[in-house]
């Protein structure tokens, strides 16, 4: 075969693309379906489809990103939204048709990979092809005269190629006393290509691992409060799809203090949640500063700081002065300046149940349109309260949010604006004291057992890609033919030819410098 190697077939042999499909008998449908699924054309089609399928996920609101926006869309388009929903267009990245595309792509990829790995392994073991008959037919070639005998010249050429880390054939004697050698370099191109694609499959496996065995949850902790990693202590918890929660003993932490700093215009500068944590119940307690970009990692589980706000410390005493309520209650922020709202429920200890609804302003600023906060830091904290009497509905058995009060069935008994340390006396003698302000932080706790696999795969993806795009595979042949012995000096005609599939310009330069070494 190599004797009649033309430029065209040599190029084909250098190609890293799969060889053309052979004709298959029509009865062998499965086989032909498999062949077309693993063809480059199908991969191309599926890649284009994948890109196209992802687009609606960025144009329509997605449940996984922002469920509130999806609800808003439903309200705005009552007839269109259910139809879109049937097509999973609000959960594009979890949609069956999206999964179908990437799974087919991966099946096609795996089907393509096996034969190519086998071929490449074989190519790695084989010697480079022997020299074609006519080197001057190759795209890059040169001919020159040299002193010395043909075998020695070719042996020299082989040596200088080997020094440049080319793989070479043995010296080959040809009819007429000629000698030739073949060489090849750049096997890393296909190796990198295969590494890249295998790493993609590993990456997908890692993602699946995280999706099946990972869990996450969020929890709000007030200054001085604690958290322990058991499902019941989360505010929101998404358990693992497979397997129960971690077999490890639960870790725990206490929020010592949360601090935030702001620029004068209210734009945040930094957030810090200073916690003390124990990685197991028996472990010693250690301090850690959880901040943006710096989660706390405990045995494969990460604790992130994701939000913050103010907790208002309120004390309620009955008319005899007995303390019936004494707690820091988290208020939820309504705007960037942390105007916050919250509810206090006092079901016990008073003649009638008492509820308080309030707004908290870290930096109070009255305006003609009502009060607002003008800075997110607690520069001038003020609390406005409304008091309500009646049945708070806590015994009705229906679940109730701690952030709302059923005011429709309650009686308003007054409103008041007070500062820290001030006390508001209600008509029945009950007193409400604004005892102080502390802060709370919300933490997201996430466990993703697949993330290490994904990271390692990603490293291989980049390395594989670099060598598959930057290494070029090229072949080279040198032949020496002895000239008729004229004046007792042995003369030889040397010809060399080279072939590179990609970057012929670059190879031409390399070819020249190789020949320069040989001619020296």
């Amino acid at each position: 075969m190599t004797e009649t190697l033309t430029d065209e077939t040599a190029t084909q042999a250098l190609s890293t693309a799969p060889q053309g499909t052979q004709p298959v008998a029509s009865r062998n449908r499965v086989r032909s379906l498999w062949r077309s699924l693993t063809s480059m054309r199908t991969a191309l089609l599926l890649l284009s489809l994948l890109a196209l399928a992802a687009v609606p996920g960025t144009l329509l609101p997605q449940r996984g990103l922002n469920p509130v926006k999806v609800d808003v869309f439903f309200t705005a388009h009552p007839s269109l939204a259910p139809f879109l929903d049937k097509l999973s267009l609000f959960d594009v990245f979890a949609a069956p048709w999206f999964a179908a595309i990437y799974l087919l792509l991966f099946v096609s990829l795996i089907g393509c990979l096996f034969p190519r790995i086998r071929l490449h392994a074989r190519a790695l073991r084989r010697k480079p092809p022997a020299a074609p008959k006519r080197l001057e037919r190759l795209a890059i070639h040169d001919t020159w005269d040299a002193d010395g005998d043909a075998q020695a010249v070719v042996a020299n050429a082989r040596e200088s190629l080997r020094r440049q880390r080319w793989r070479t054939t043995e010296l080959r004697e040809e009819p007429g006393g000629a000698w030739s050698v073949g060489a090849e370099k750049g096997y890393l191109r296909e190796t990198g290509n295969l590494v890249f694609h295998v790493a993609l499959v590993v990456l997908l496996t890692g993602i699946a691992l995280g999706g099946l065995f990972g869990y996450k949850g969020t929890v709000l902790v007030t200054d001085g409060g604690s958290f322990s990693d058991v499902p019941s202590s989360y505010d929101v918890f998404t358990p693992a799809r497979l397997g129960s929660e971690s077999a490890l003993p639960p870790f725990a932490f206490t929020l010592r203090k949360f601090t935030a700093s702001y620029q004068p215009n209210g734009v945040p500068k930094s957030f810090h949640a200073y916690v003390d944590y124990r990685s197991t119940p028996d472990a010693p307690s250690r301090p850690y500063d959880v901040t943006t970009n710096r989660p706390l990692s405990i045995a494969g589980t990460d604790v992130y700081l994701v939000g913050h706000g103010y907790a208002v410390h309120i004390q309620v005493r009955d008319k005899s002065g007995r303390l019936v309520y004494d707690k820091a209650t988290p208020f939820l922020p309504d705007d960037a300046m942390f105007t916050s709202h919250g509810v206090v429920k006092v079901p016990d200890g008073l003649p009638r149940q008492l509820g308080l609804t309030g707004f908290f302003y870290p930096t109070y600023e009255p305006t003609p349109f009502g009060a607002q906060s003008s800075y997110p830091g607690p520069a001038a904290p003020v609390l406005t309260l409304a008091a309500w009497q009646g049945d708070l509905g806590l015994t009705s058995g229906r679940p109730q949010s701690v952030y709302s009060l059923p005011v429709a069935s309650l009686k308003n008994i007054g409103t008041k604006t007070i500062g820290p340390g001030q006390t508001w006396k209600l008509a029945d003698g009950t007193t409400v004291t604004f005892a102080g302000v502390s802060q709370w932080a919300t933490f997201q706790i996430a466990h993703d057992p697949g993330s290490t696999v994904v990271l390692v795969a990603a490293v291989f993806i980049v390395c594989g890609l670099l060598s598959s795009l930057w290494v070029r595979r090229r072949r080279m042949w040198v032949r020496a033919v002895p000239l008729d012995n004229a004046g007792g000096v042995r003369r030889t005609v040397v010809s060399a030819g080279g072939l590179a599939r990609t970057d012929a310009d670059g190879f031409a330069t390399e070819f020249e410098s190789l020949l320069r070494r040989m001619k020296d």
């Binding site: 190609s15 890293t16 693309a17 053309g20 480059m40 054309r41 991969a43 191309l44 890649l47 284009s48 994948l50 890109a51 992802a54 687009v55 996920g57 960025t58 144009l59 997605q62 996984g64 990103l65 594009v92 990245f93 993602i207 996450k216 620029q263 004068p264 215009n265 734009v267 945040p268 500068k269 930094s270 957030f271 943006t292 970009n293 710096r294 989660p295 990460d302 992130y304 994701v306 997201q444 996430a446 993703d448 993330s451 994904v454 990271l455 990603a458 993806i461 980049v462 890609l465 670099l466 795009l469 930057w470 990609t502 970057d503 012929a504 310009d505």
Partner: protein, 311 residues
């Protein structure tokens, strides 16, 4: 000028703005020079004259590009020094950096190959891009938002900027490639036709379609792994900042779509029947996705990457 945010060195910020203006002016003159060379060398050659004077203008344009590049670099460095941080914290700065990389890629190519013909075609989008950055996207120097305060901003954003600048150059080359193949096909309709005559003028200036294709592939071969790395670095950063490495945020999704489009280009280039013009169109689709990723996602679609500083 609006009042400067605290922690910003006002005189340095001002110097940066001034250097920016000069950069755009010098680049614009260079662009004009390249265009003159392109137009007149073509005419001179098609008449059989020596194209000496236009070529001198072309060389001056290269000199001006280098001067503009230095001013550009100066503008970026002073901007960073003024704000006391990396100079790629909002969309104005980001666009400026992408243009800087595009010019750098062009100059590096010029060191290795005779690609001065690219000058006019690279400088035109660069000048437009900088014009857009300086007017619509301009945001005064200010400190970073806390979430951006991570060393990953250096790694992730530098990679994204580098890949984008190179993709921009490859997009220009691909457009020239498509022009050239279009001309080739028109000329093949027959000798002596007006199209064939016009072709000879233009074609002598543009390199062969094959060479343009190889050049575009070379630049994408550089940009694509860098873009891959940018996405991965972004995912690692997202793991630290947002508790997950991937969440299909619009920016993430469009980066992924861009990646898939360029991956399709690379596959198309190795597929019979897709090589050439079809593959070129795929790479332009990839570039279109990249533009959506930066401009549509930042301004129209809201998401986690809302750092544009444009209102």
């Amino acid at each position: 000028m609006p009042t400067a945010a605290p922690g910003v060195n006002v005189s340095l910020a001002h110097a940066s703005d001034l250097l920016f203006t000069w950069t755009v002016l010098v680049y614009a003159v260079a662009m004009f020079g390249y265009s003159v060379e392109f137009a007149f060398a073509r005419i001179a050659r098609s008449r059989g004259d020596q194209a000496g004077r236009p070529e001198q203008i072309g060389r001056v344009a290269v000199g001006l590009t280098v001067v503009g590049w230095l001013l550009h670099l100066g503008s970026v460095v002073t901007r960073g020094a003024a704000a006391g941080r990396v100079p790629w914290g909002n969309m104005y700065e980001f666009s400026t950096m992408v243009a800087l990389v595009a010019v750098t890629v062009y100059l590096v190519l010029l060191l290795r190959q005779p690609v001065r013909f690219l000058g006019a075609f690279v400088m035109t989008p660069v000048v437009l891009y900088l014009g857009l950055a300086g007017t619509v996207l301009y945001a005064p120097a200010a400190p970073l938002q806390p979430i951006l305060n991570s060393y990953w901003i250096k790694i992730h954003v530098v990679a994204a900027i580098t890949a984008s600048g190179a993709f921009m150059v490859s997009g220009v080359i691909t457009l020239l490639y498509l022009t050239r193949t279009w001309l080739d096909r028109r000329a093949s309709m027959g000798p002596g036709t007006a199209a064939a005559v016009e072709y000879h003028g233009f074609a002598r200036w543009l390199p062969s379609a094959e060479r343009l294709d190889r050049l575009a592939y070379k630049v994408i071969g550089f940009a694509f792994p860098v873009w891959t790395f940018a996405i991965i670095a972004g995912a690692i950063w997202a793991k630290y900042a947002w508790s997950r490495y991937w969440g299909w945020d619009p920016k993430e999704t469009w980066s992924f779509i861009t990646w898939v489009a360029y991956a399709a280009y690379l596959h198309a280039r190795a597929t019979a029947g897709w090589r050439g013009r079809r593959a070129a169109v795929l790479s332009l689709v990839g570039f279109g996705c990249l533009m959506v990723d930066y401009y549509v996602v930042n301004t129209v679609i809201s998401g986690l990457h809302s750092y544009a500083g444009v209102n």
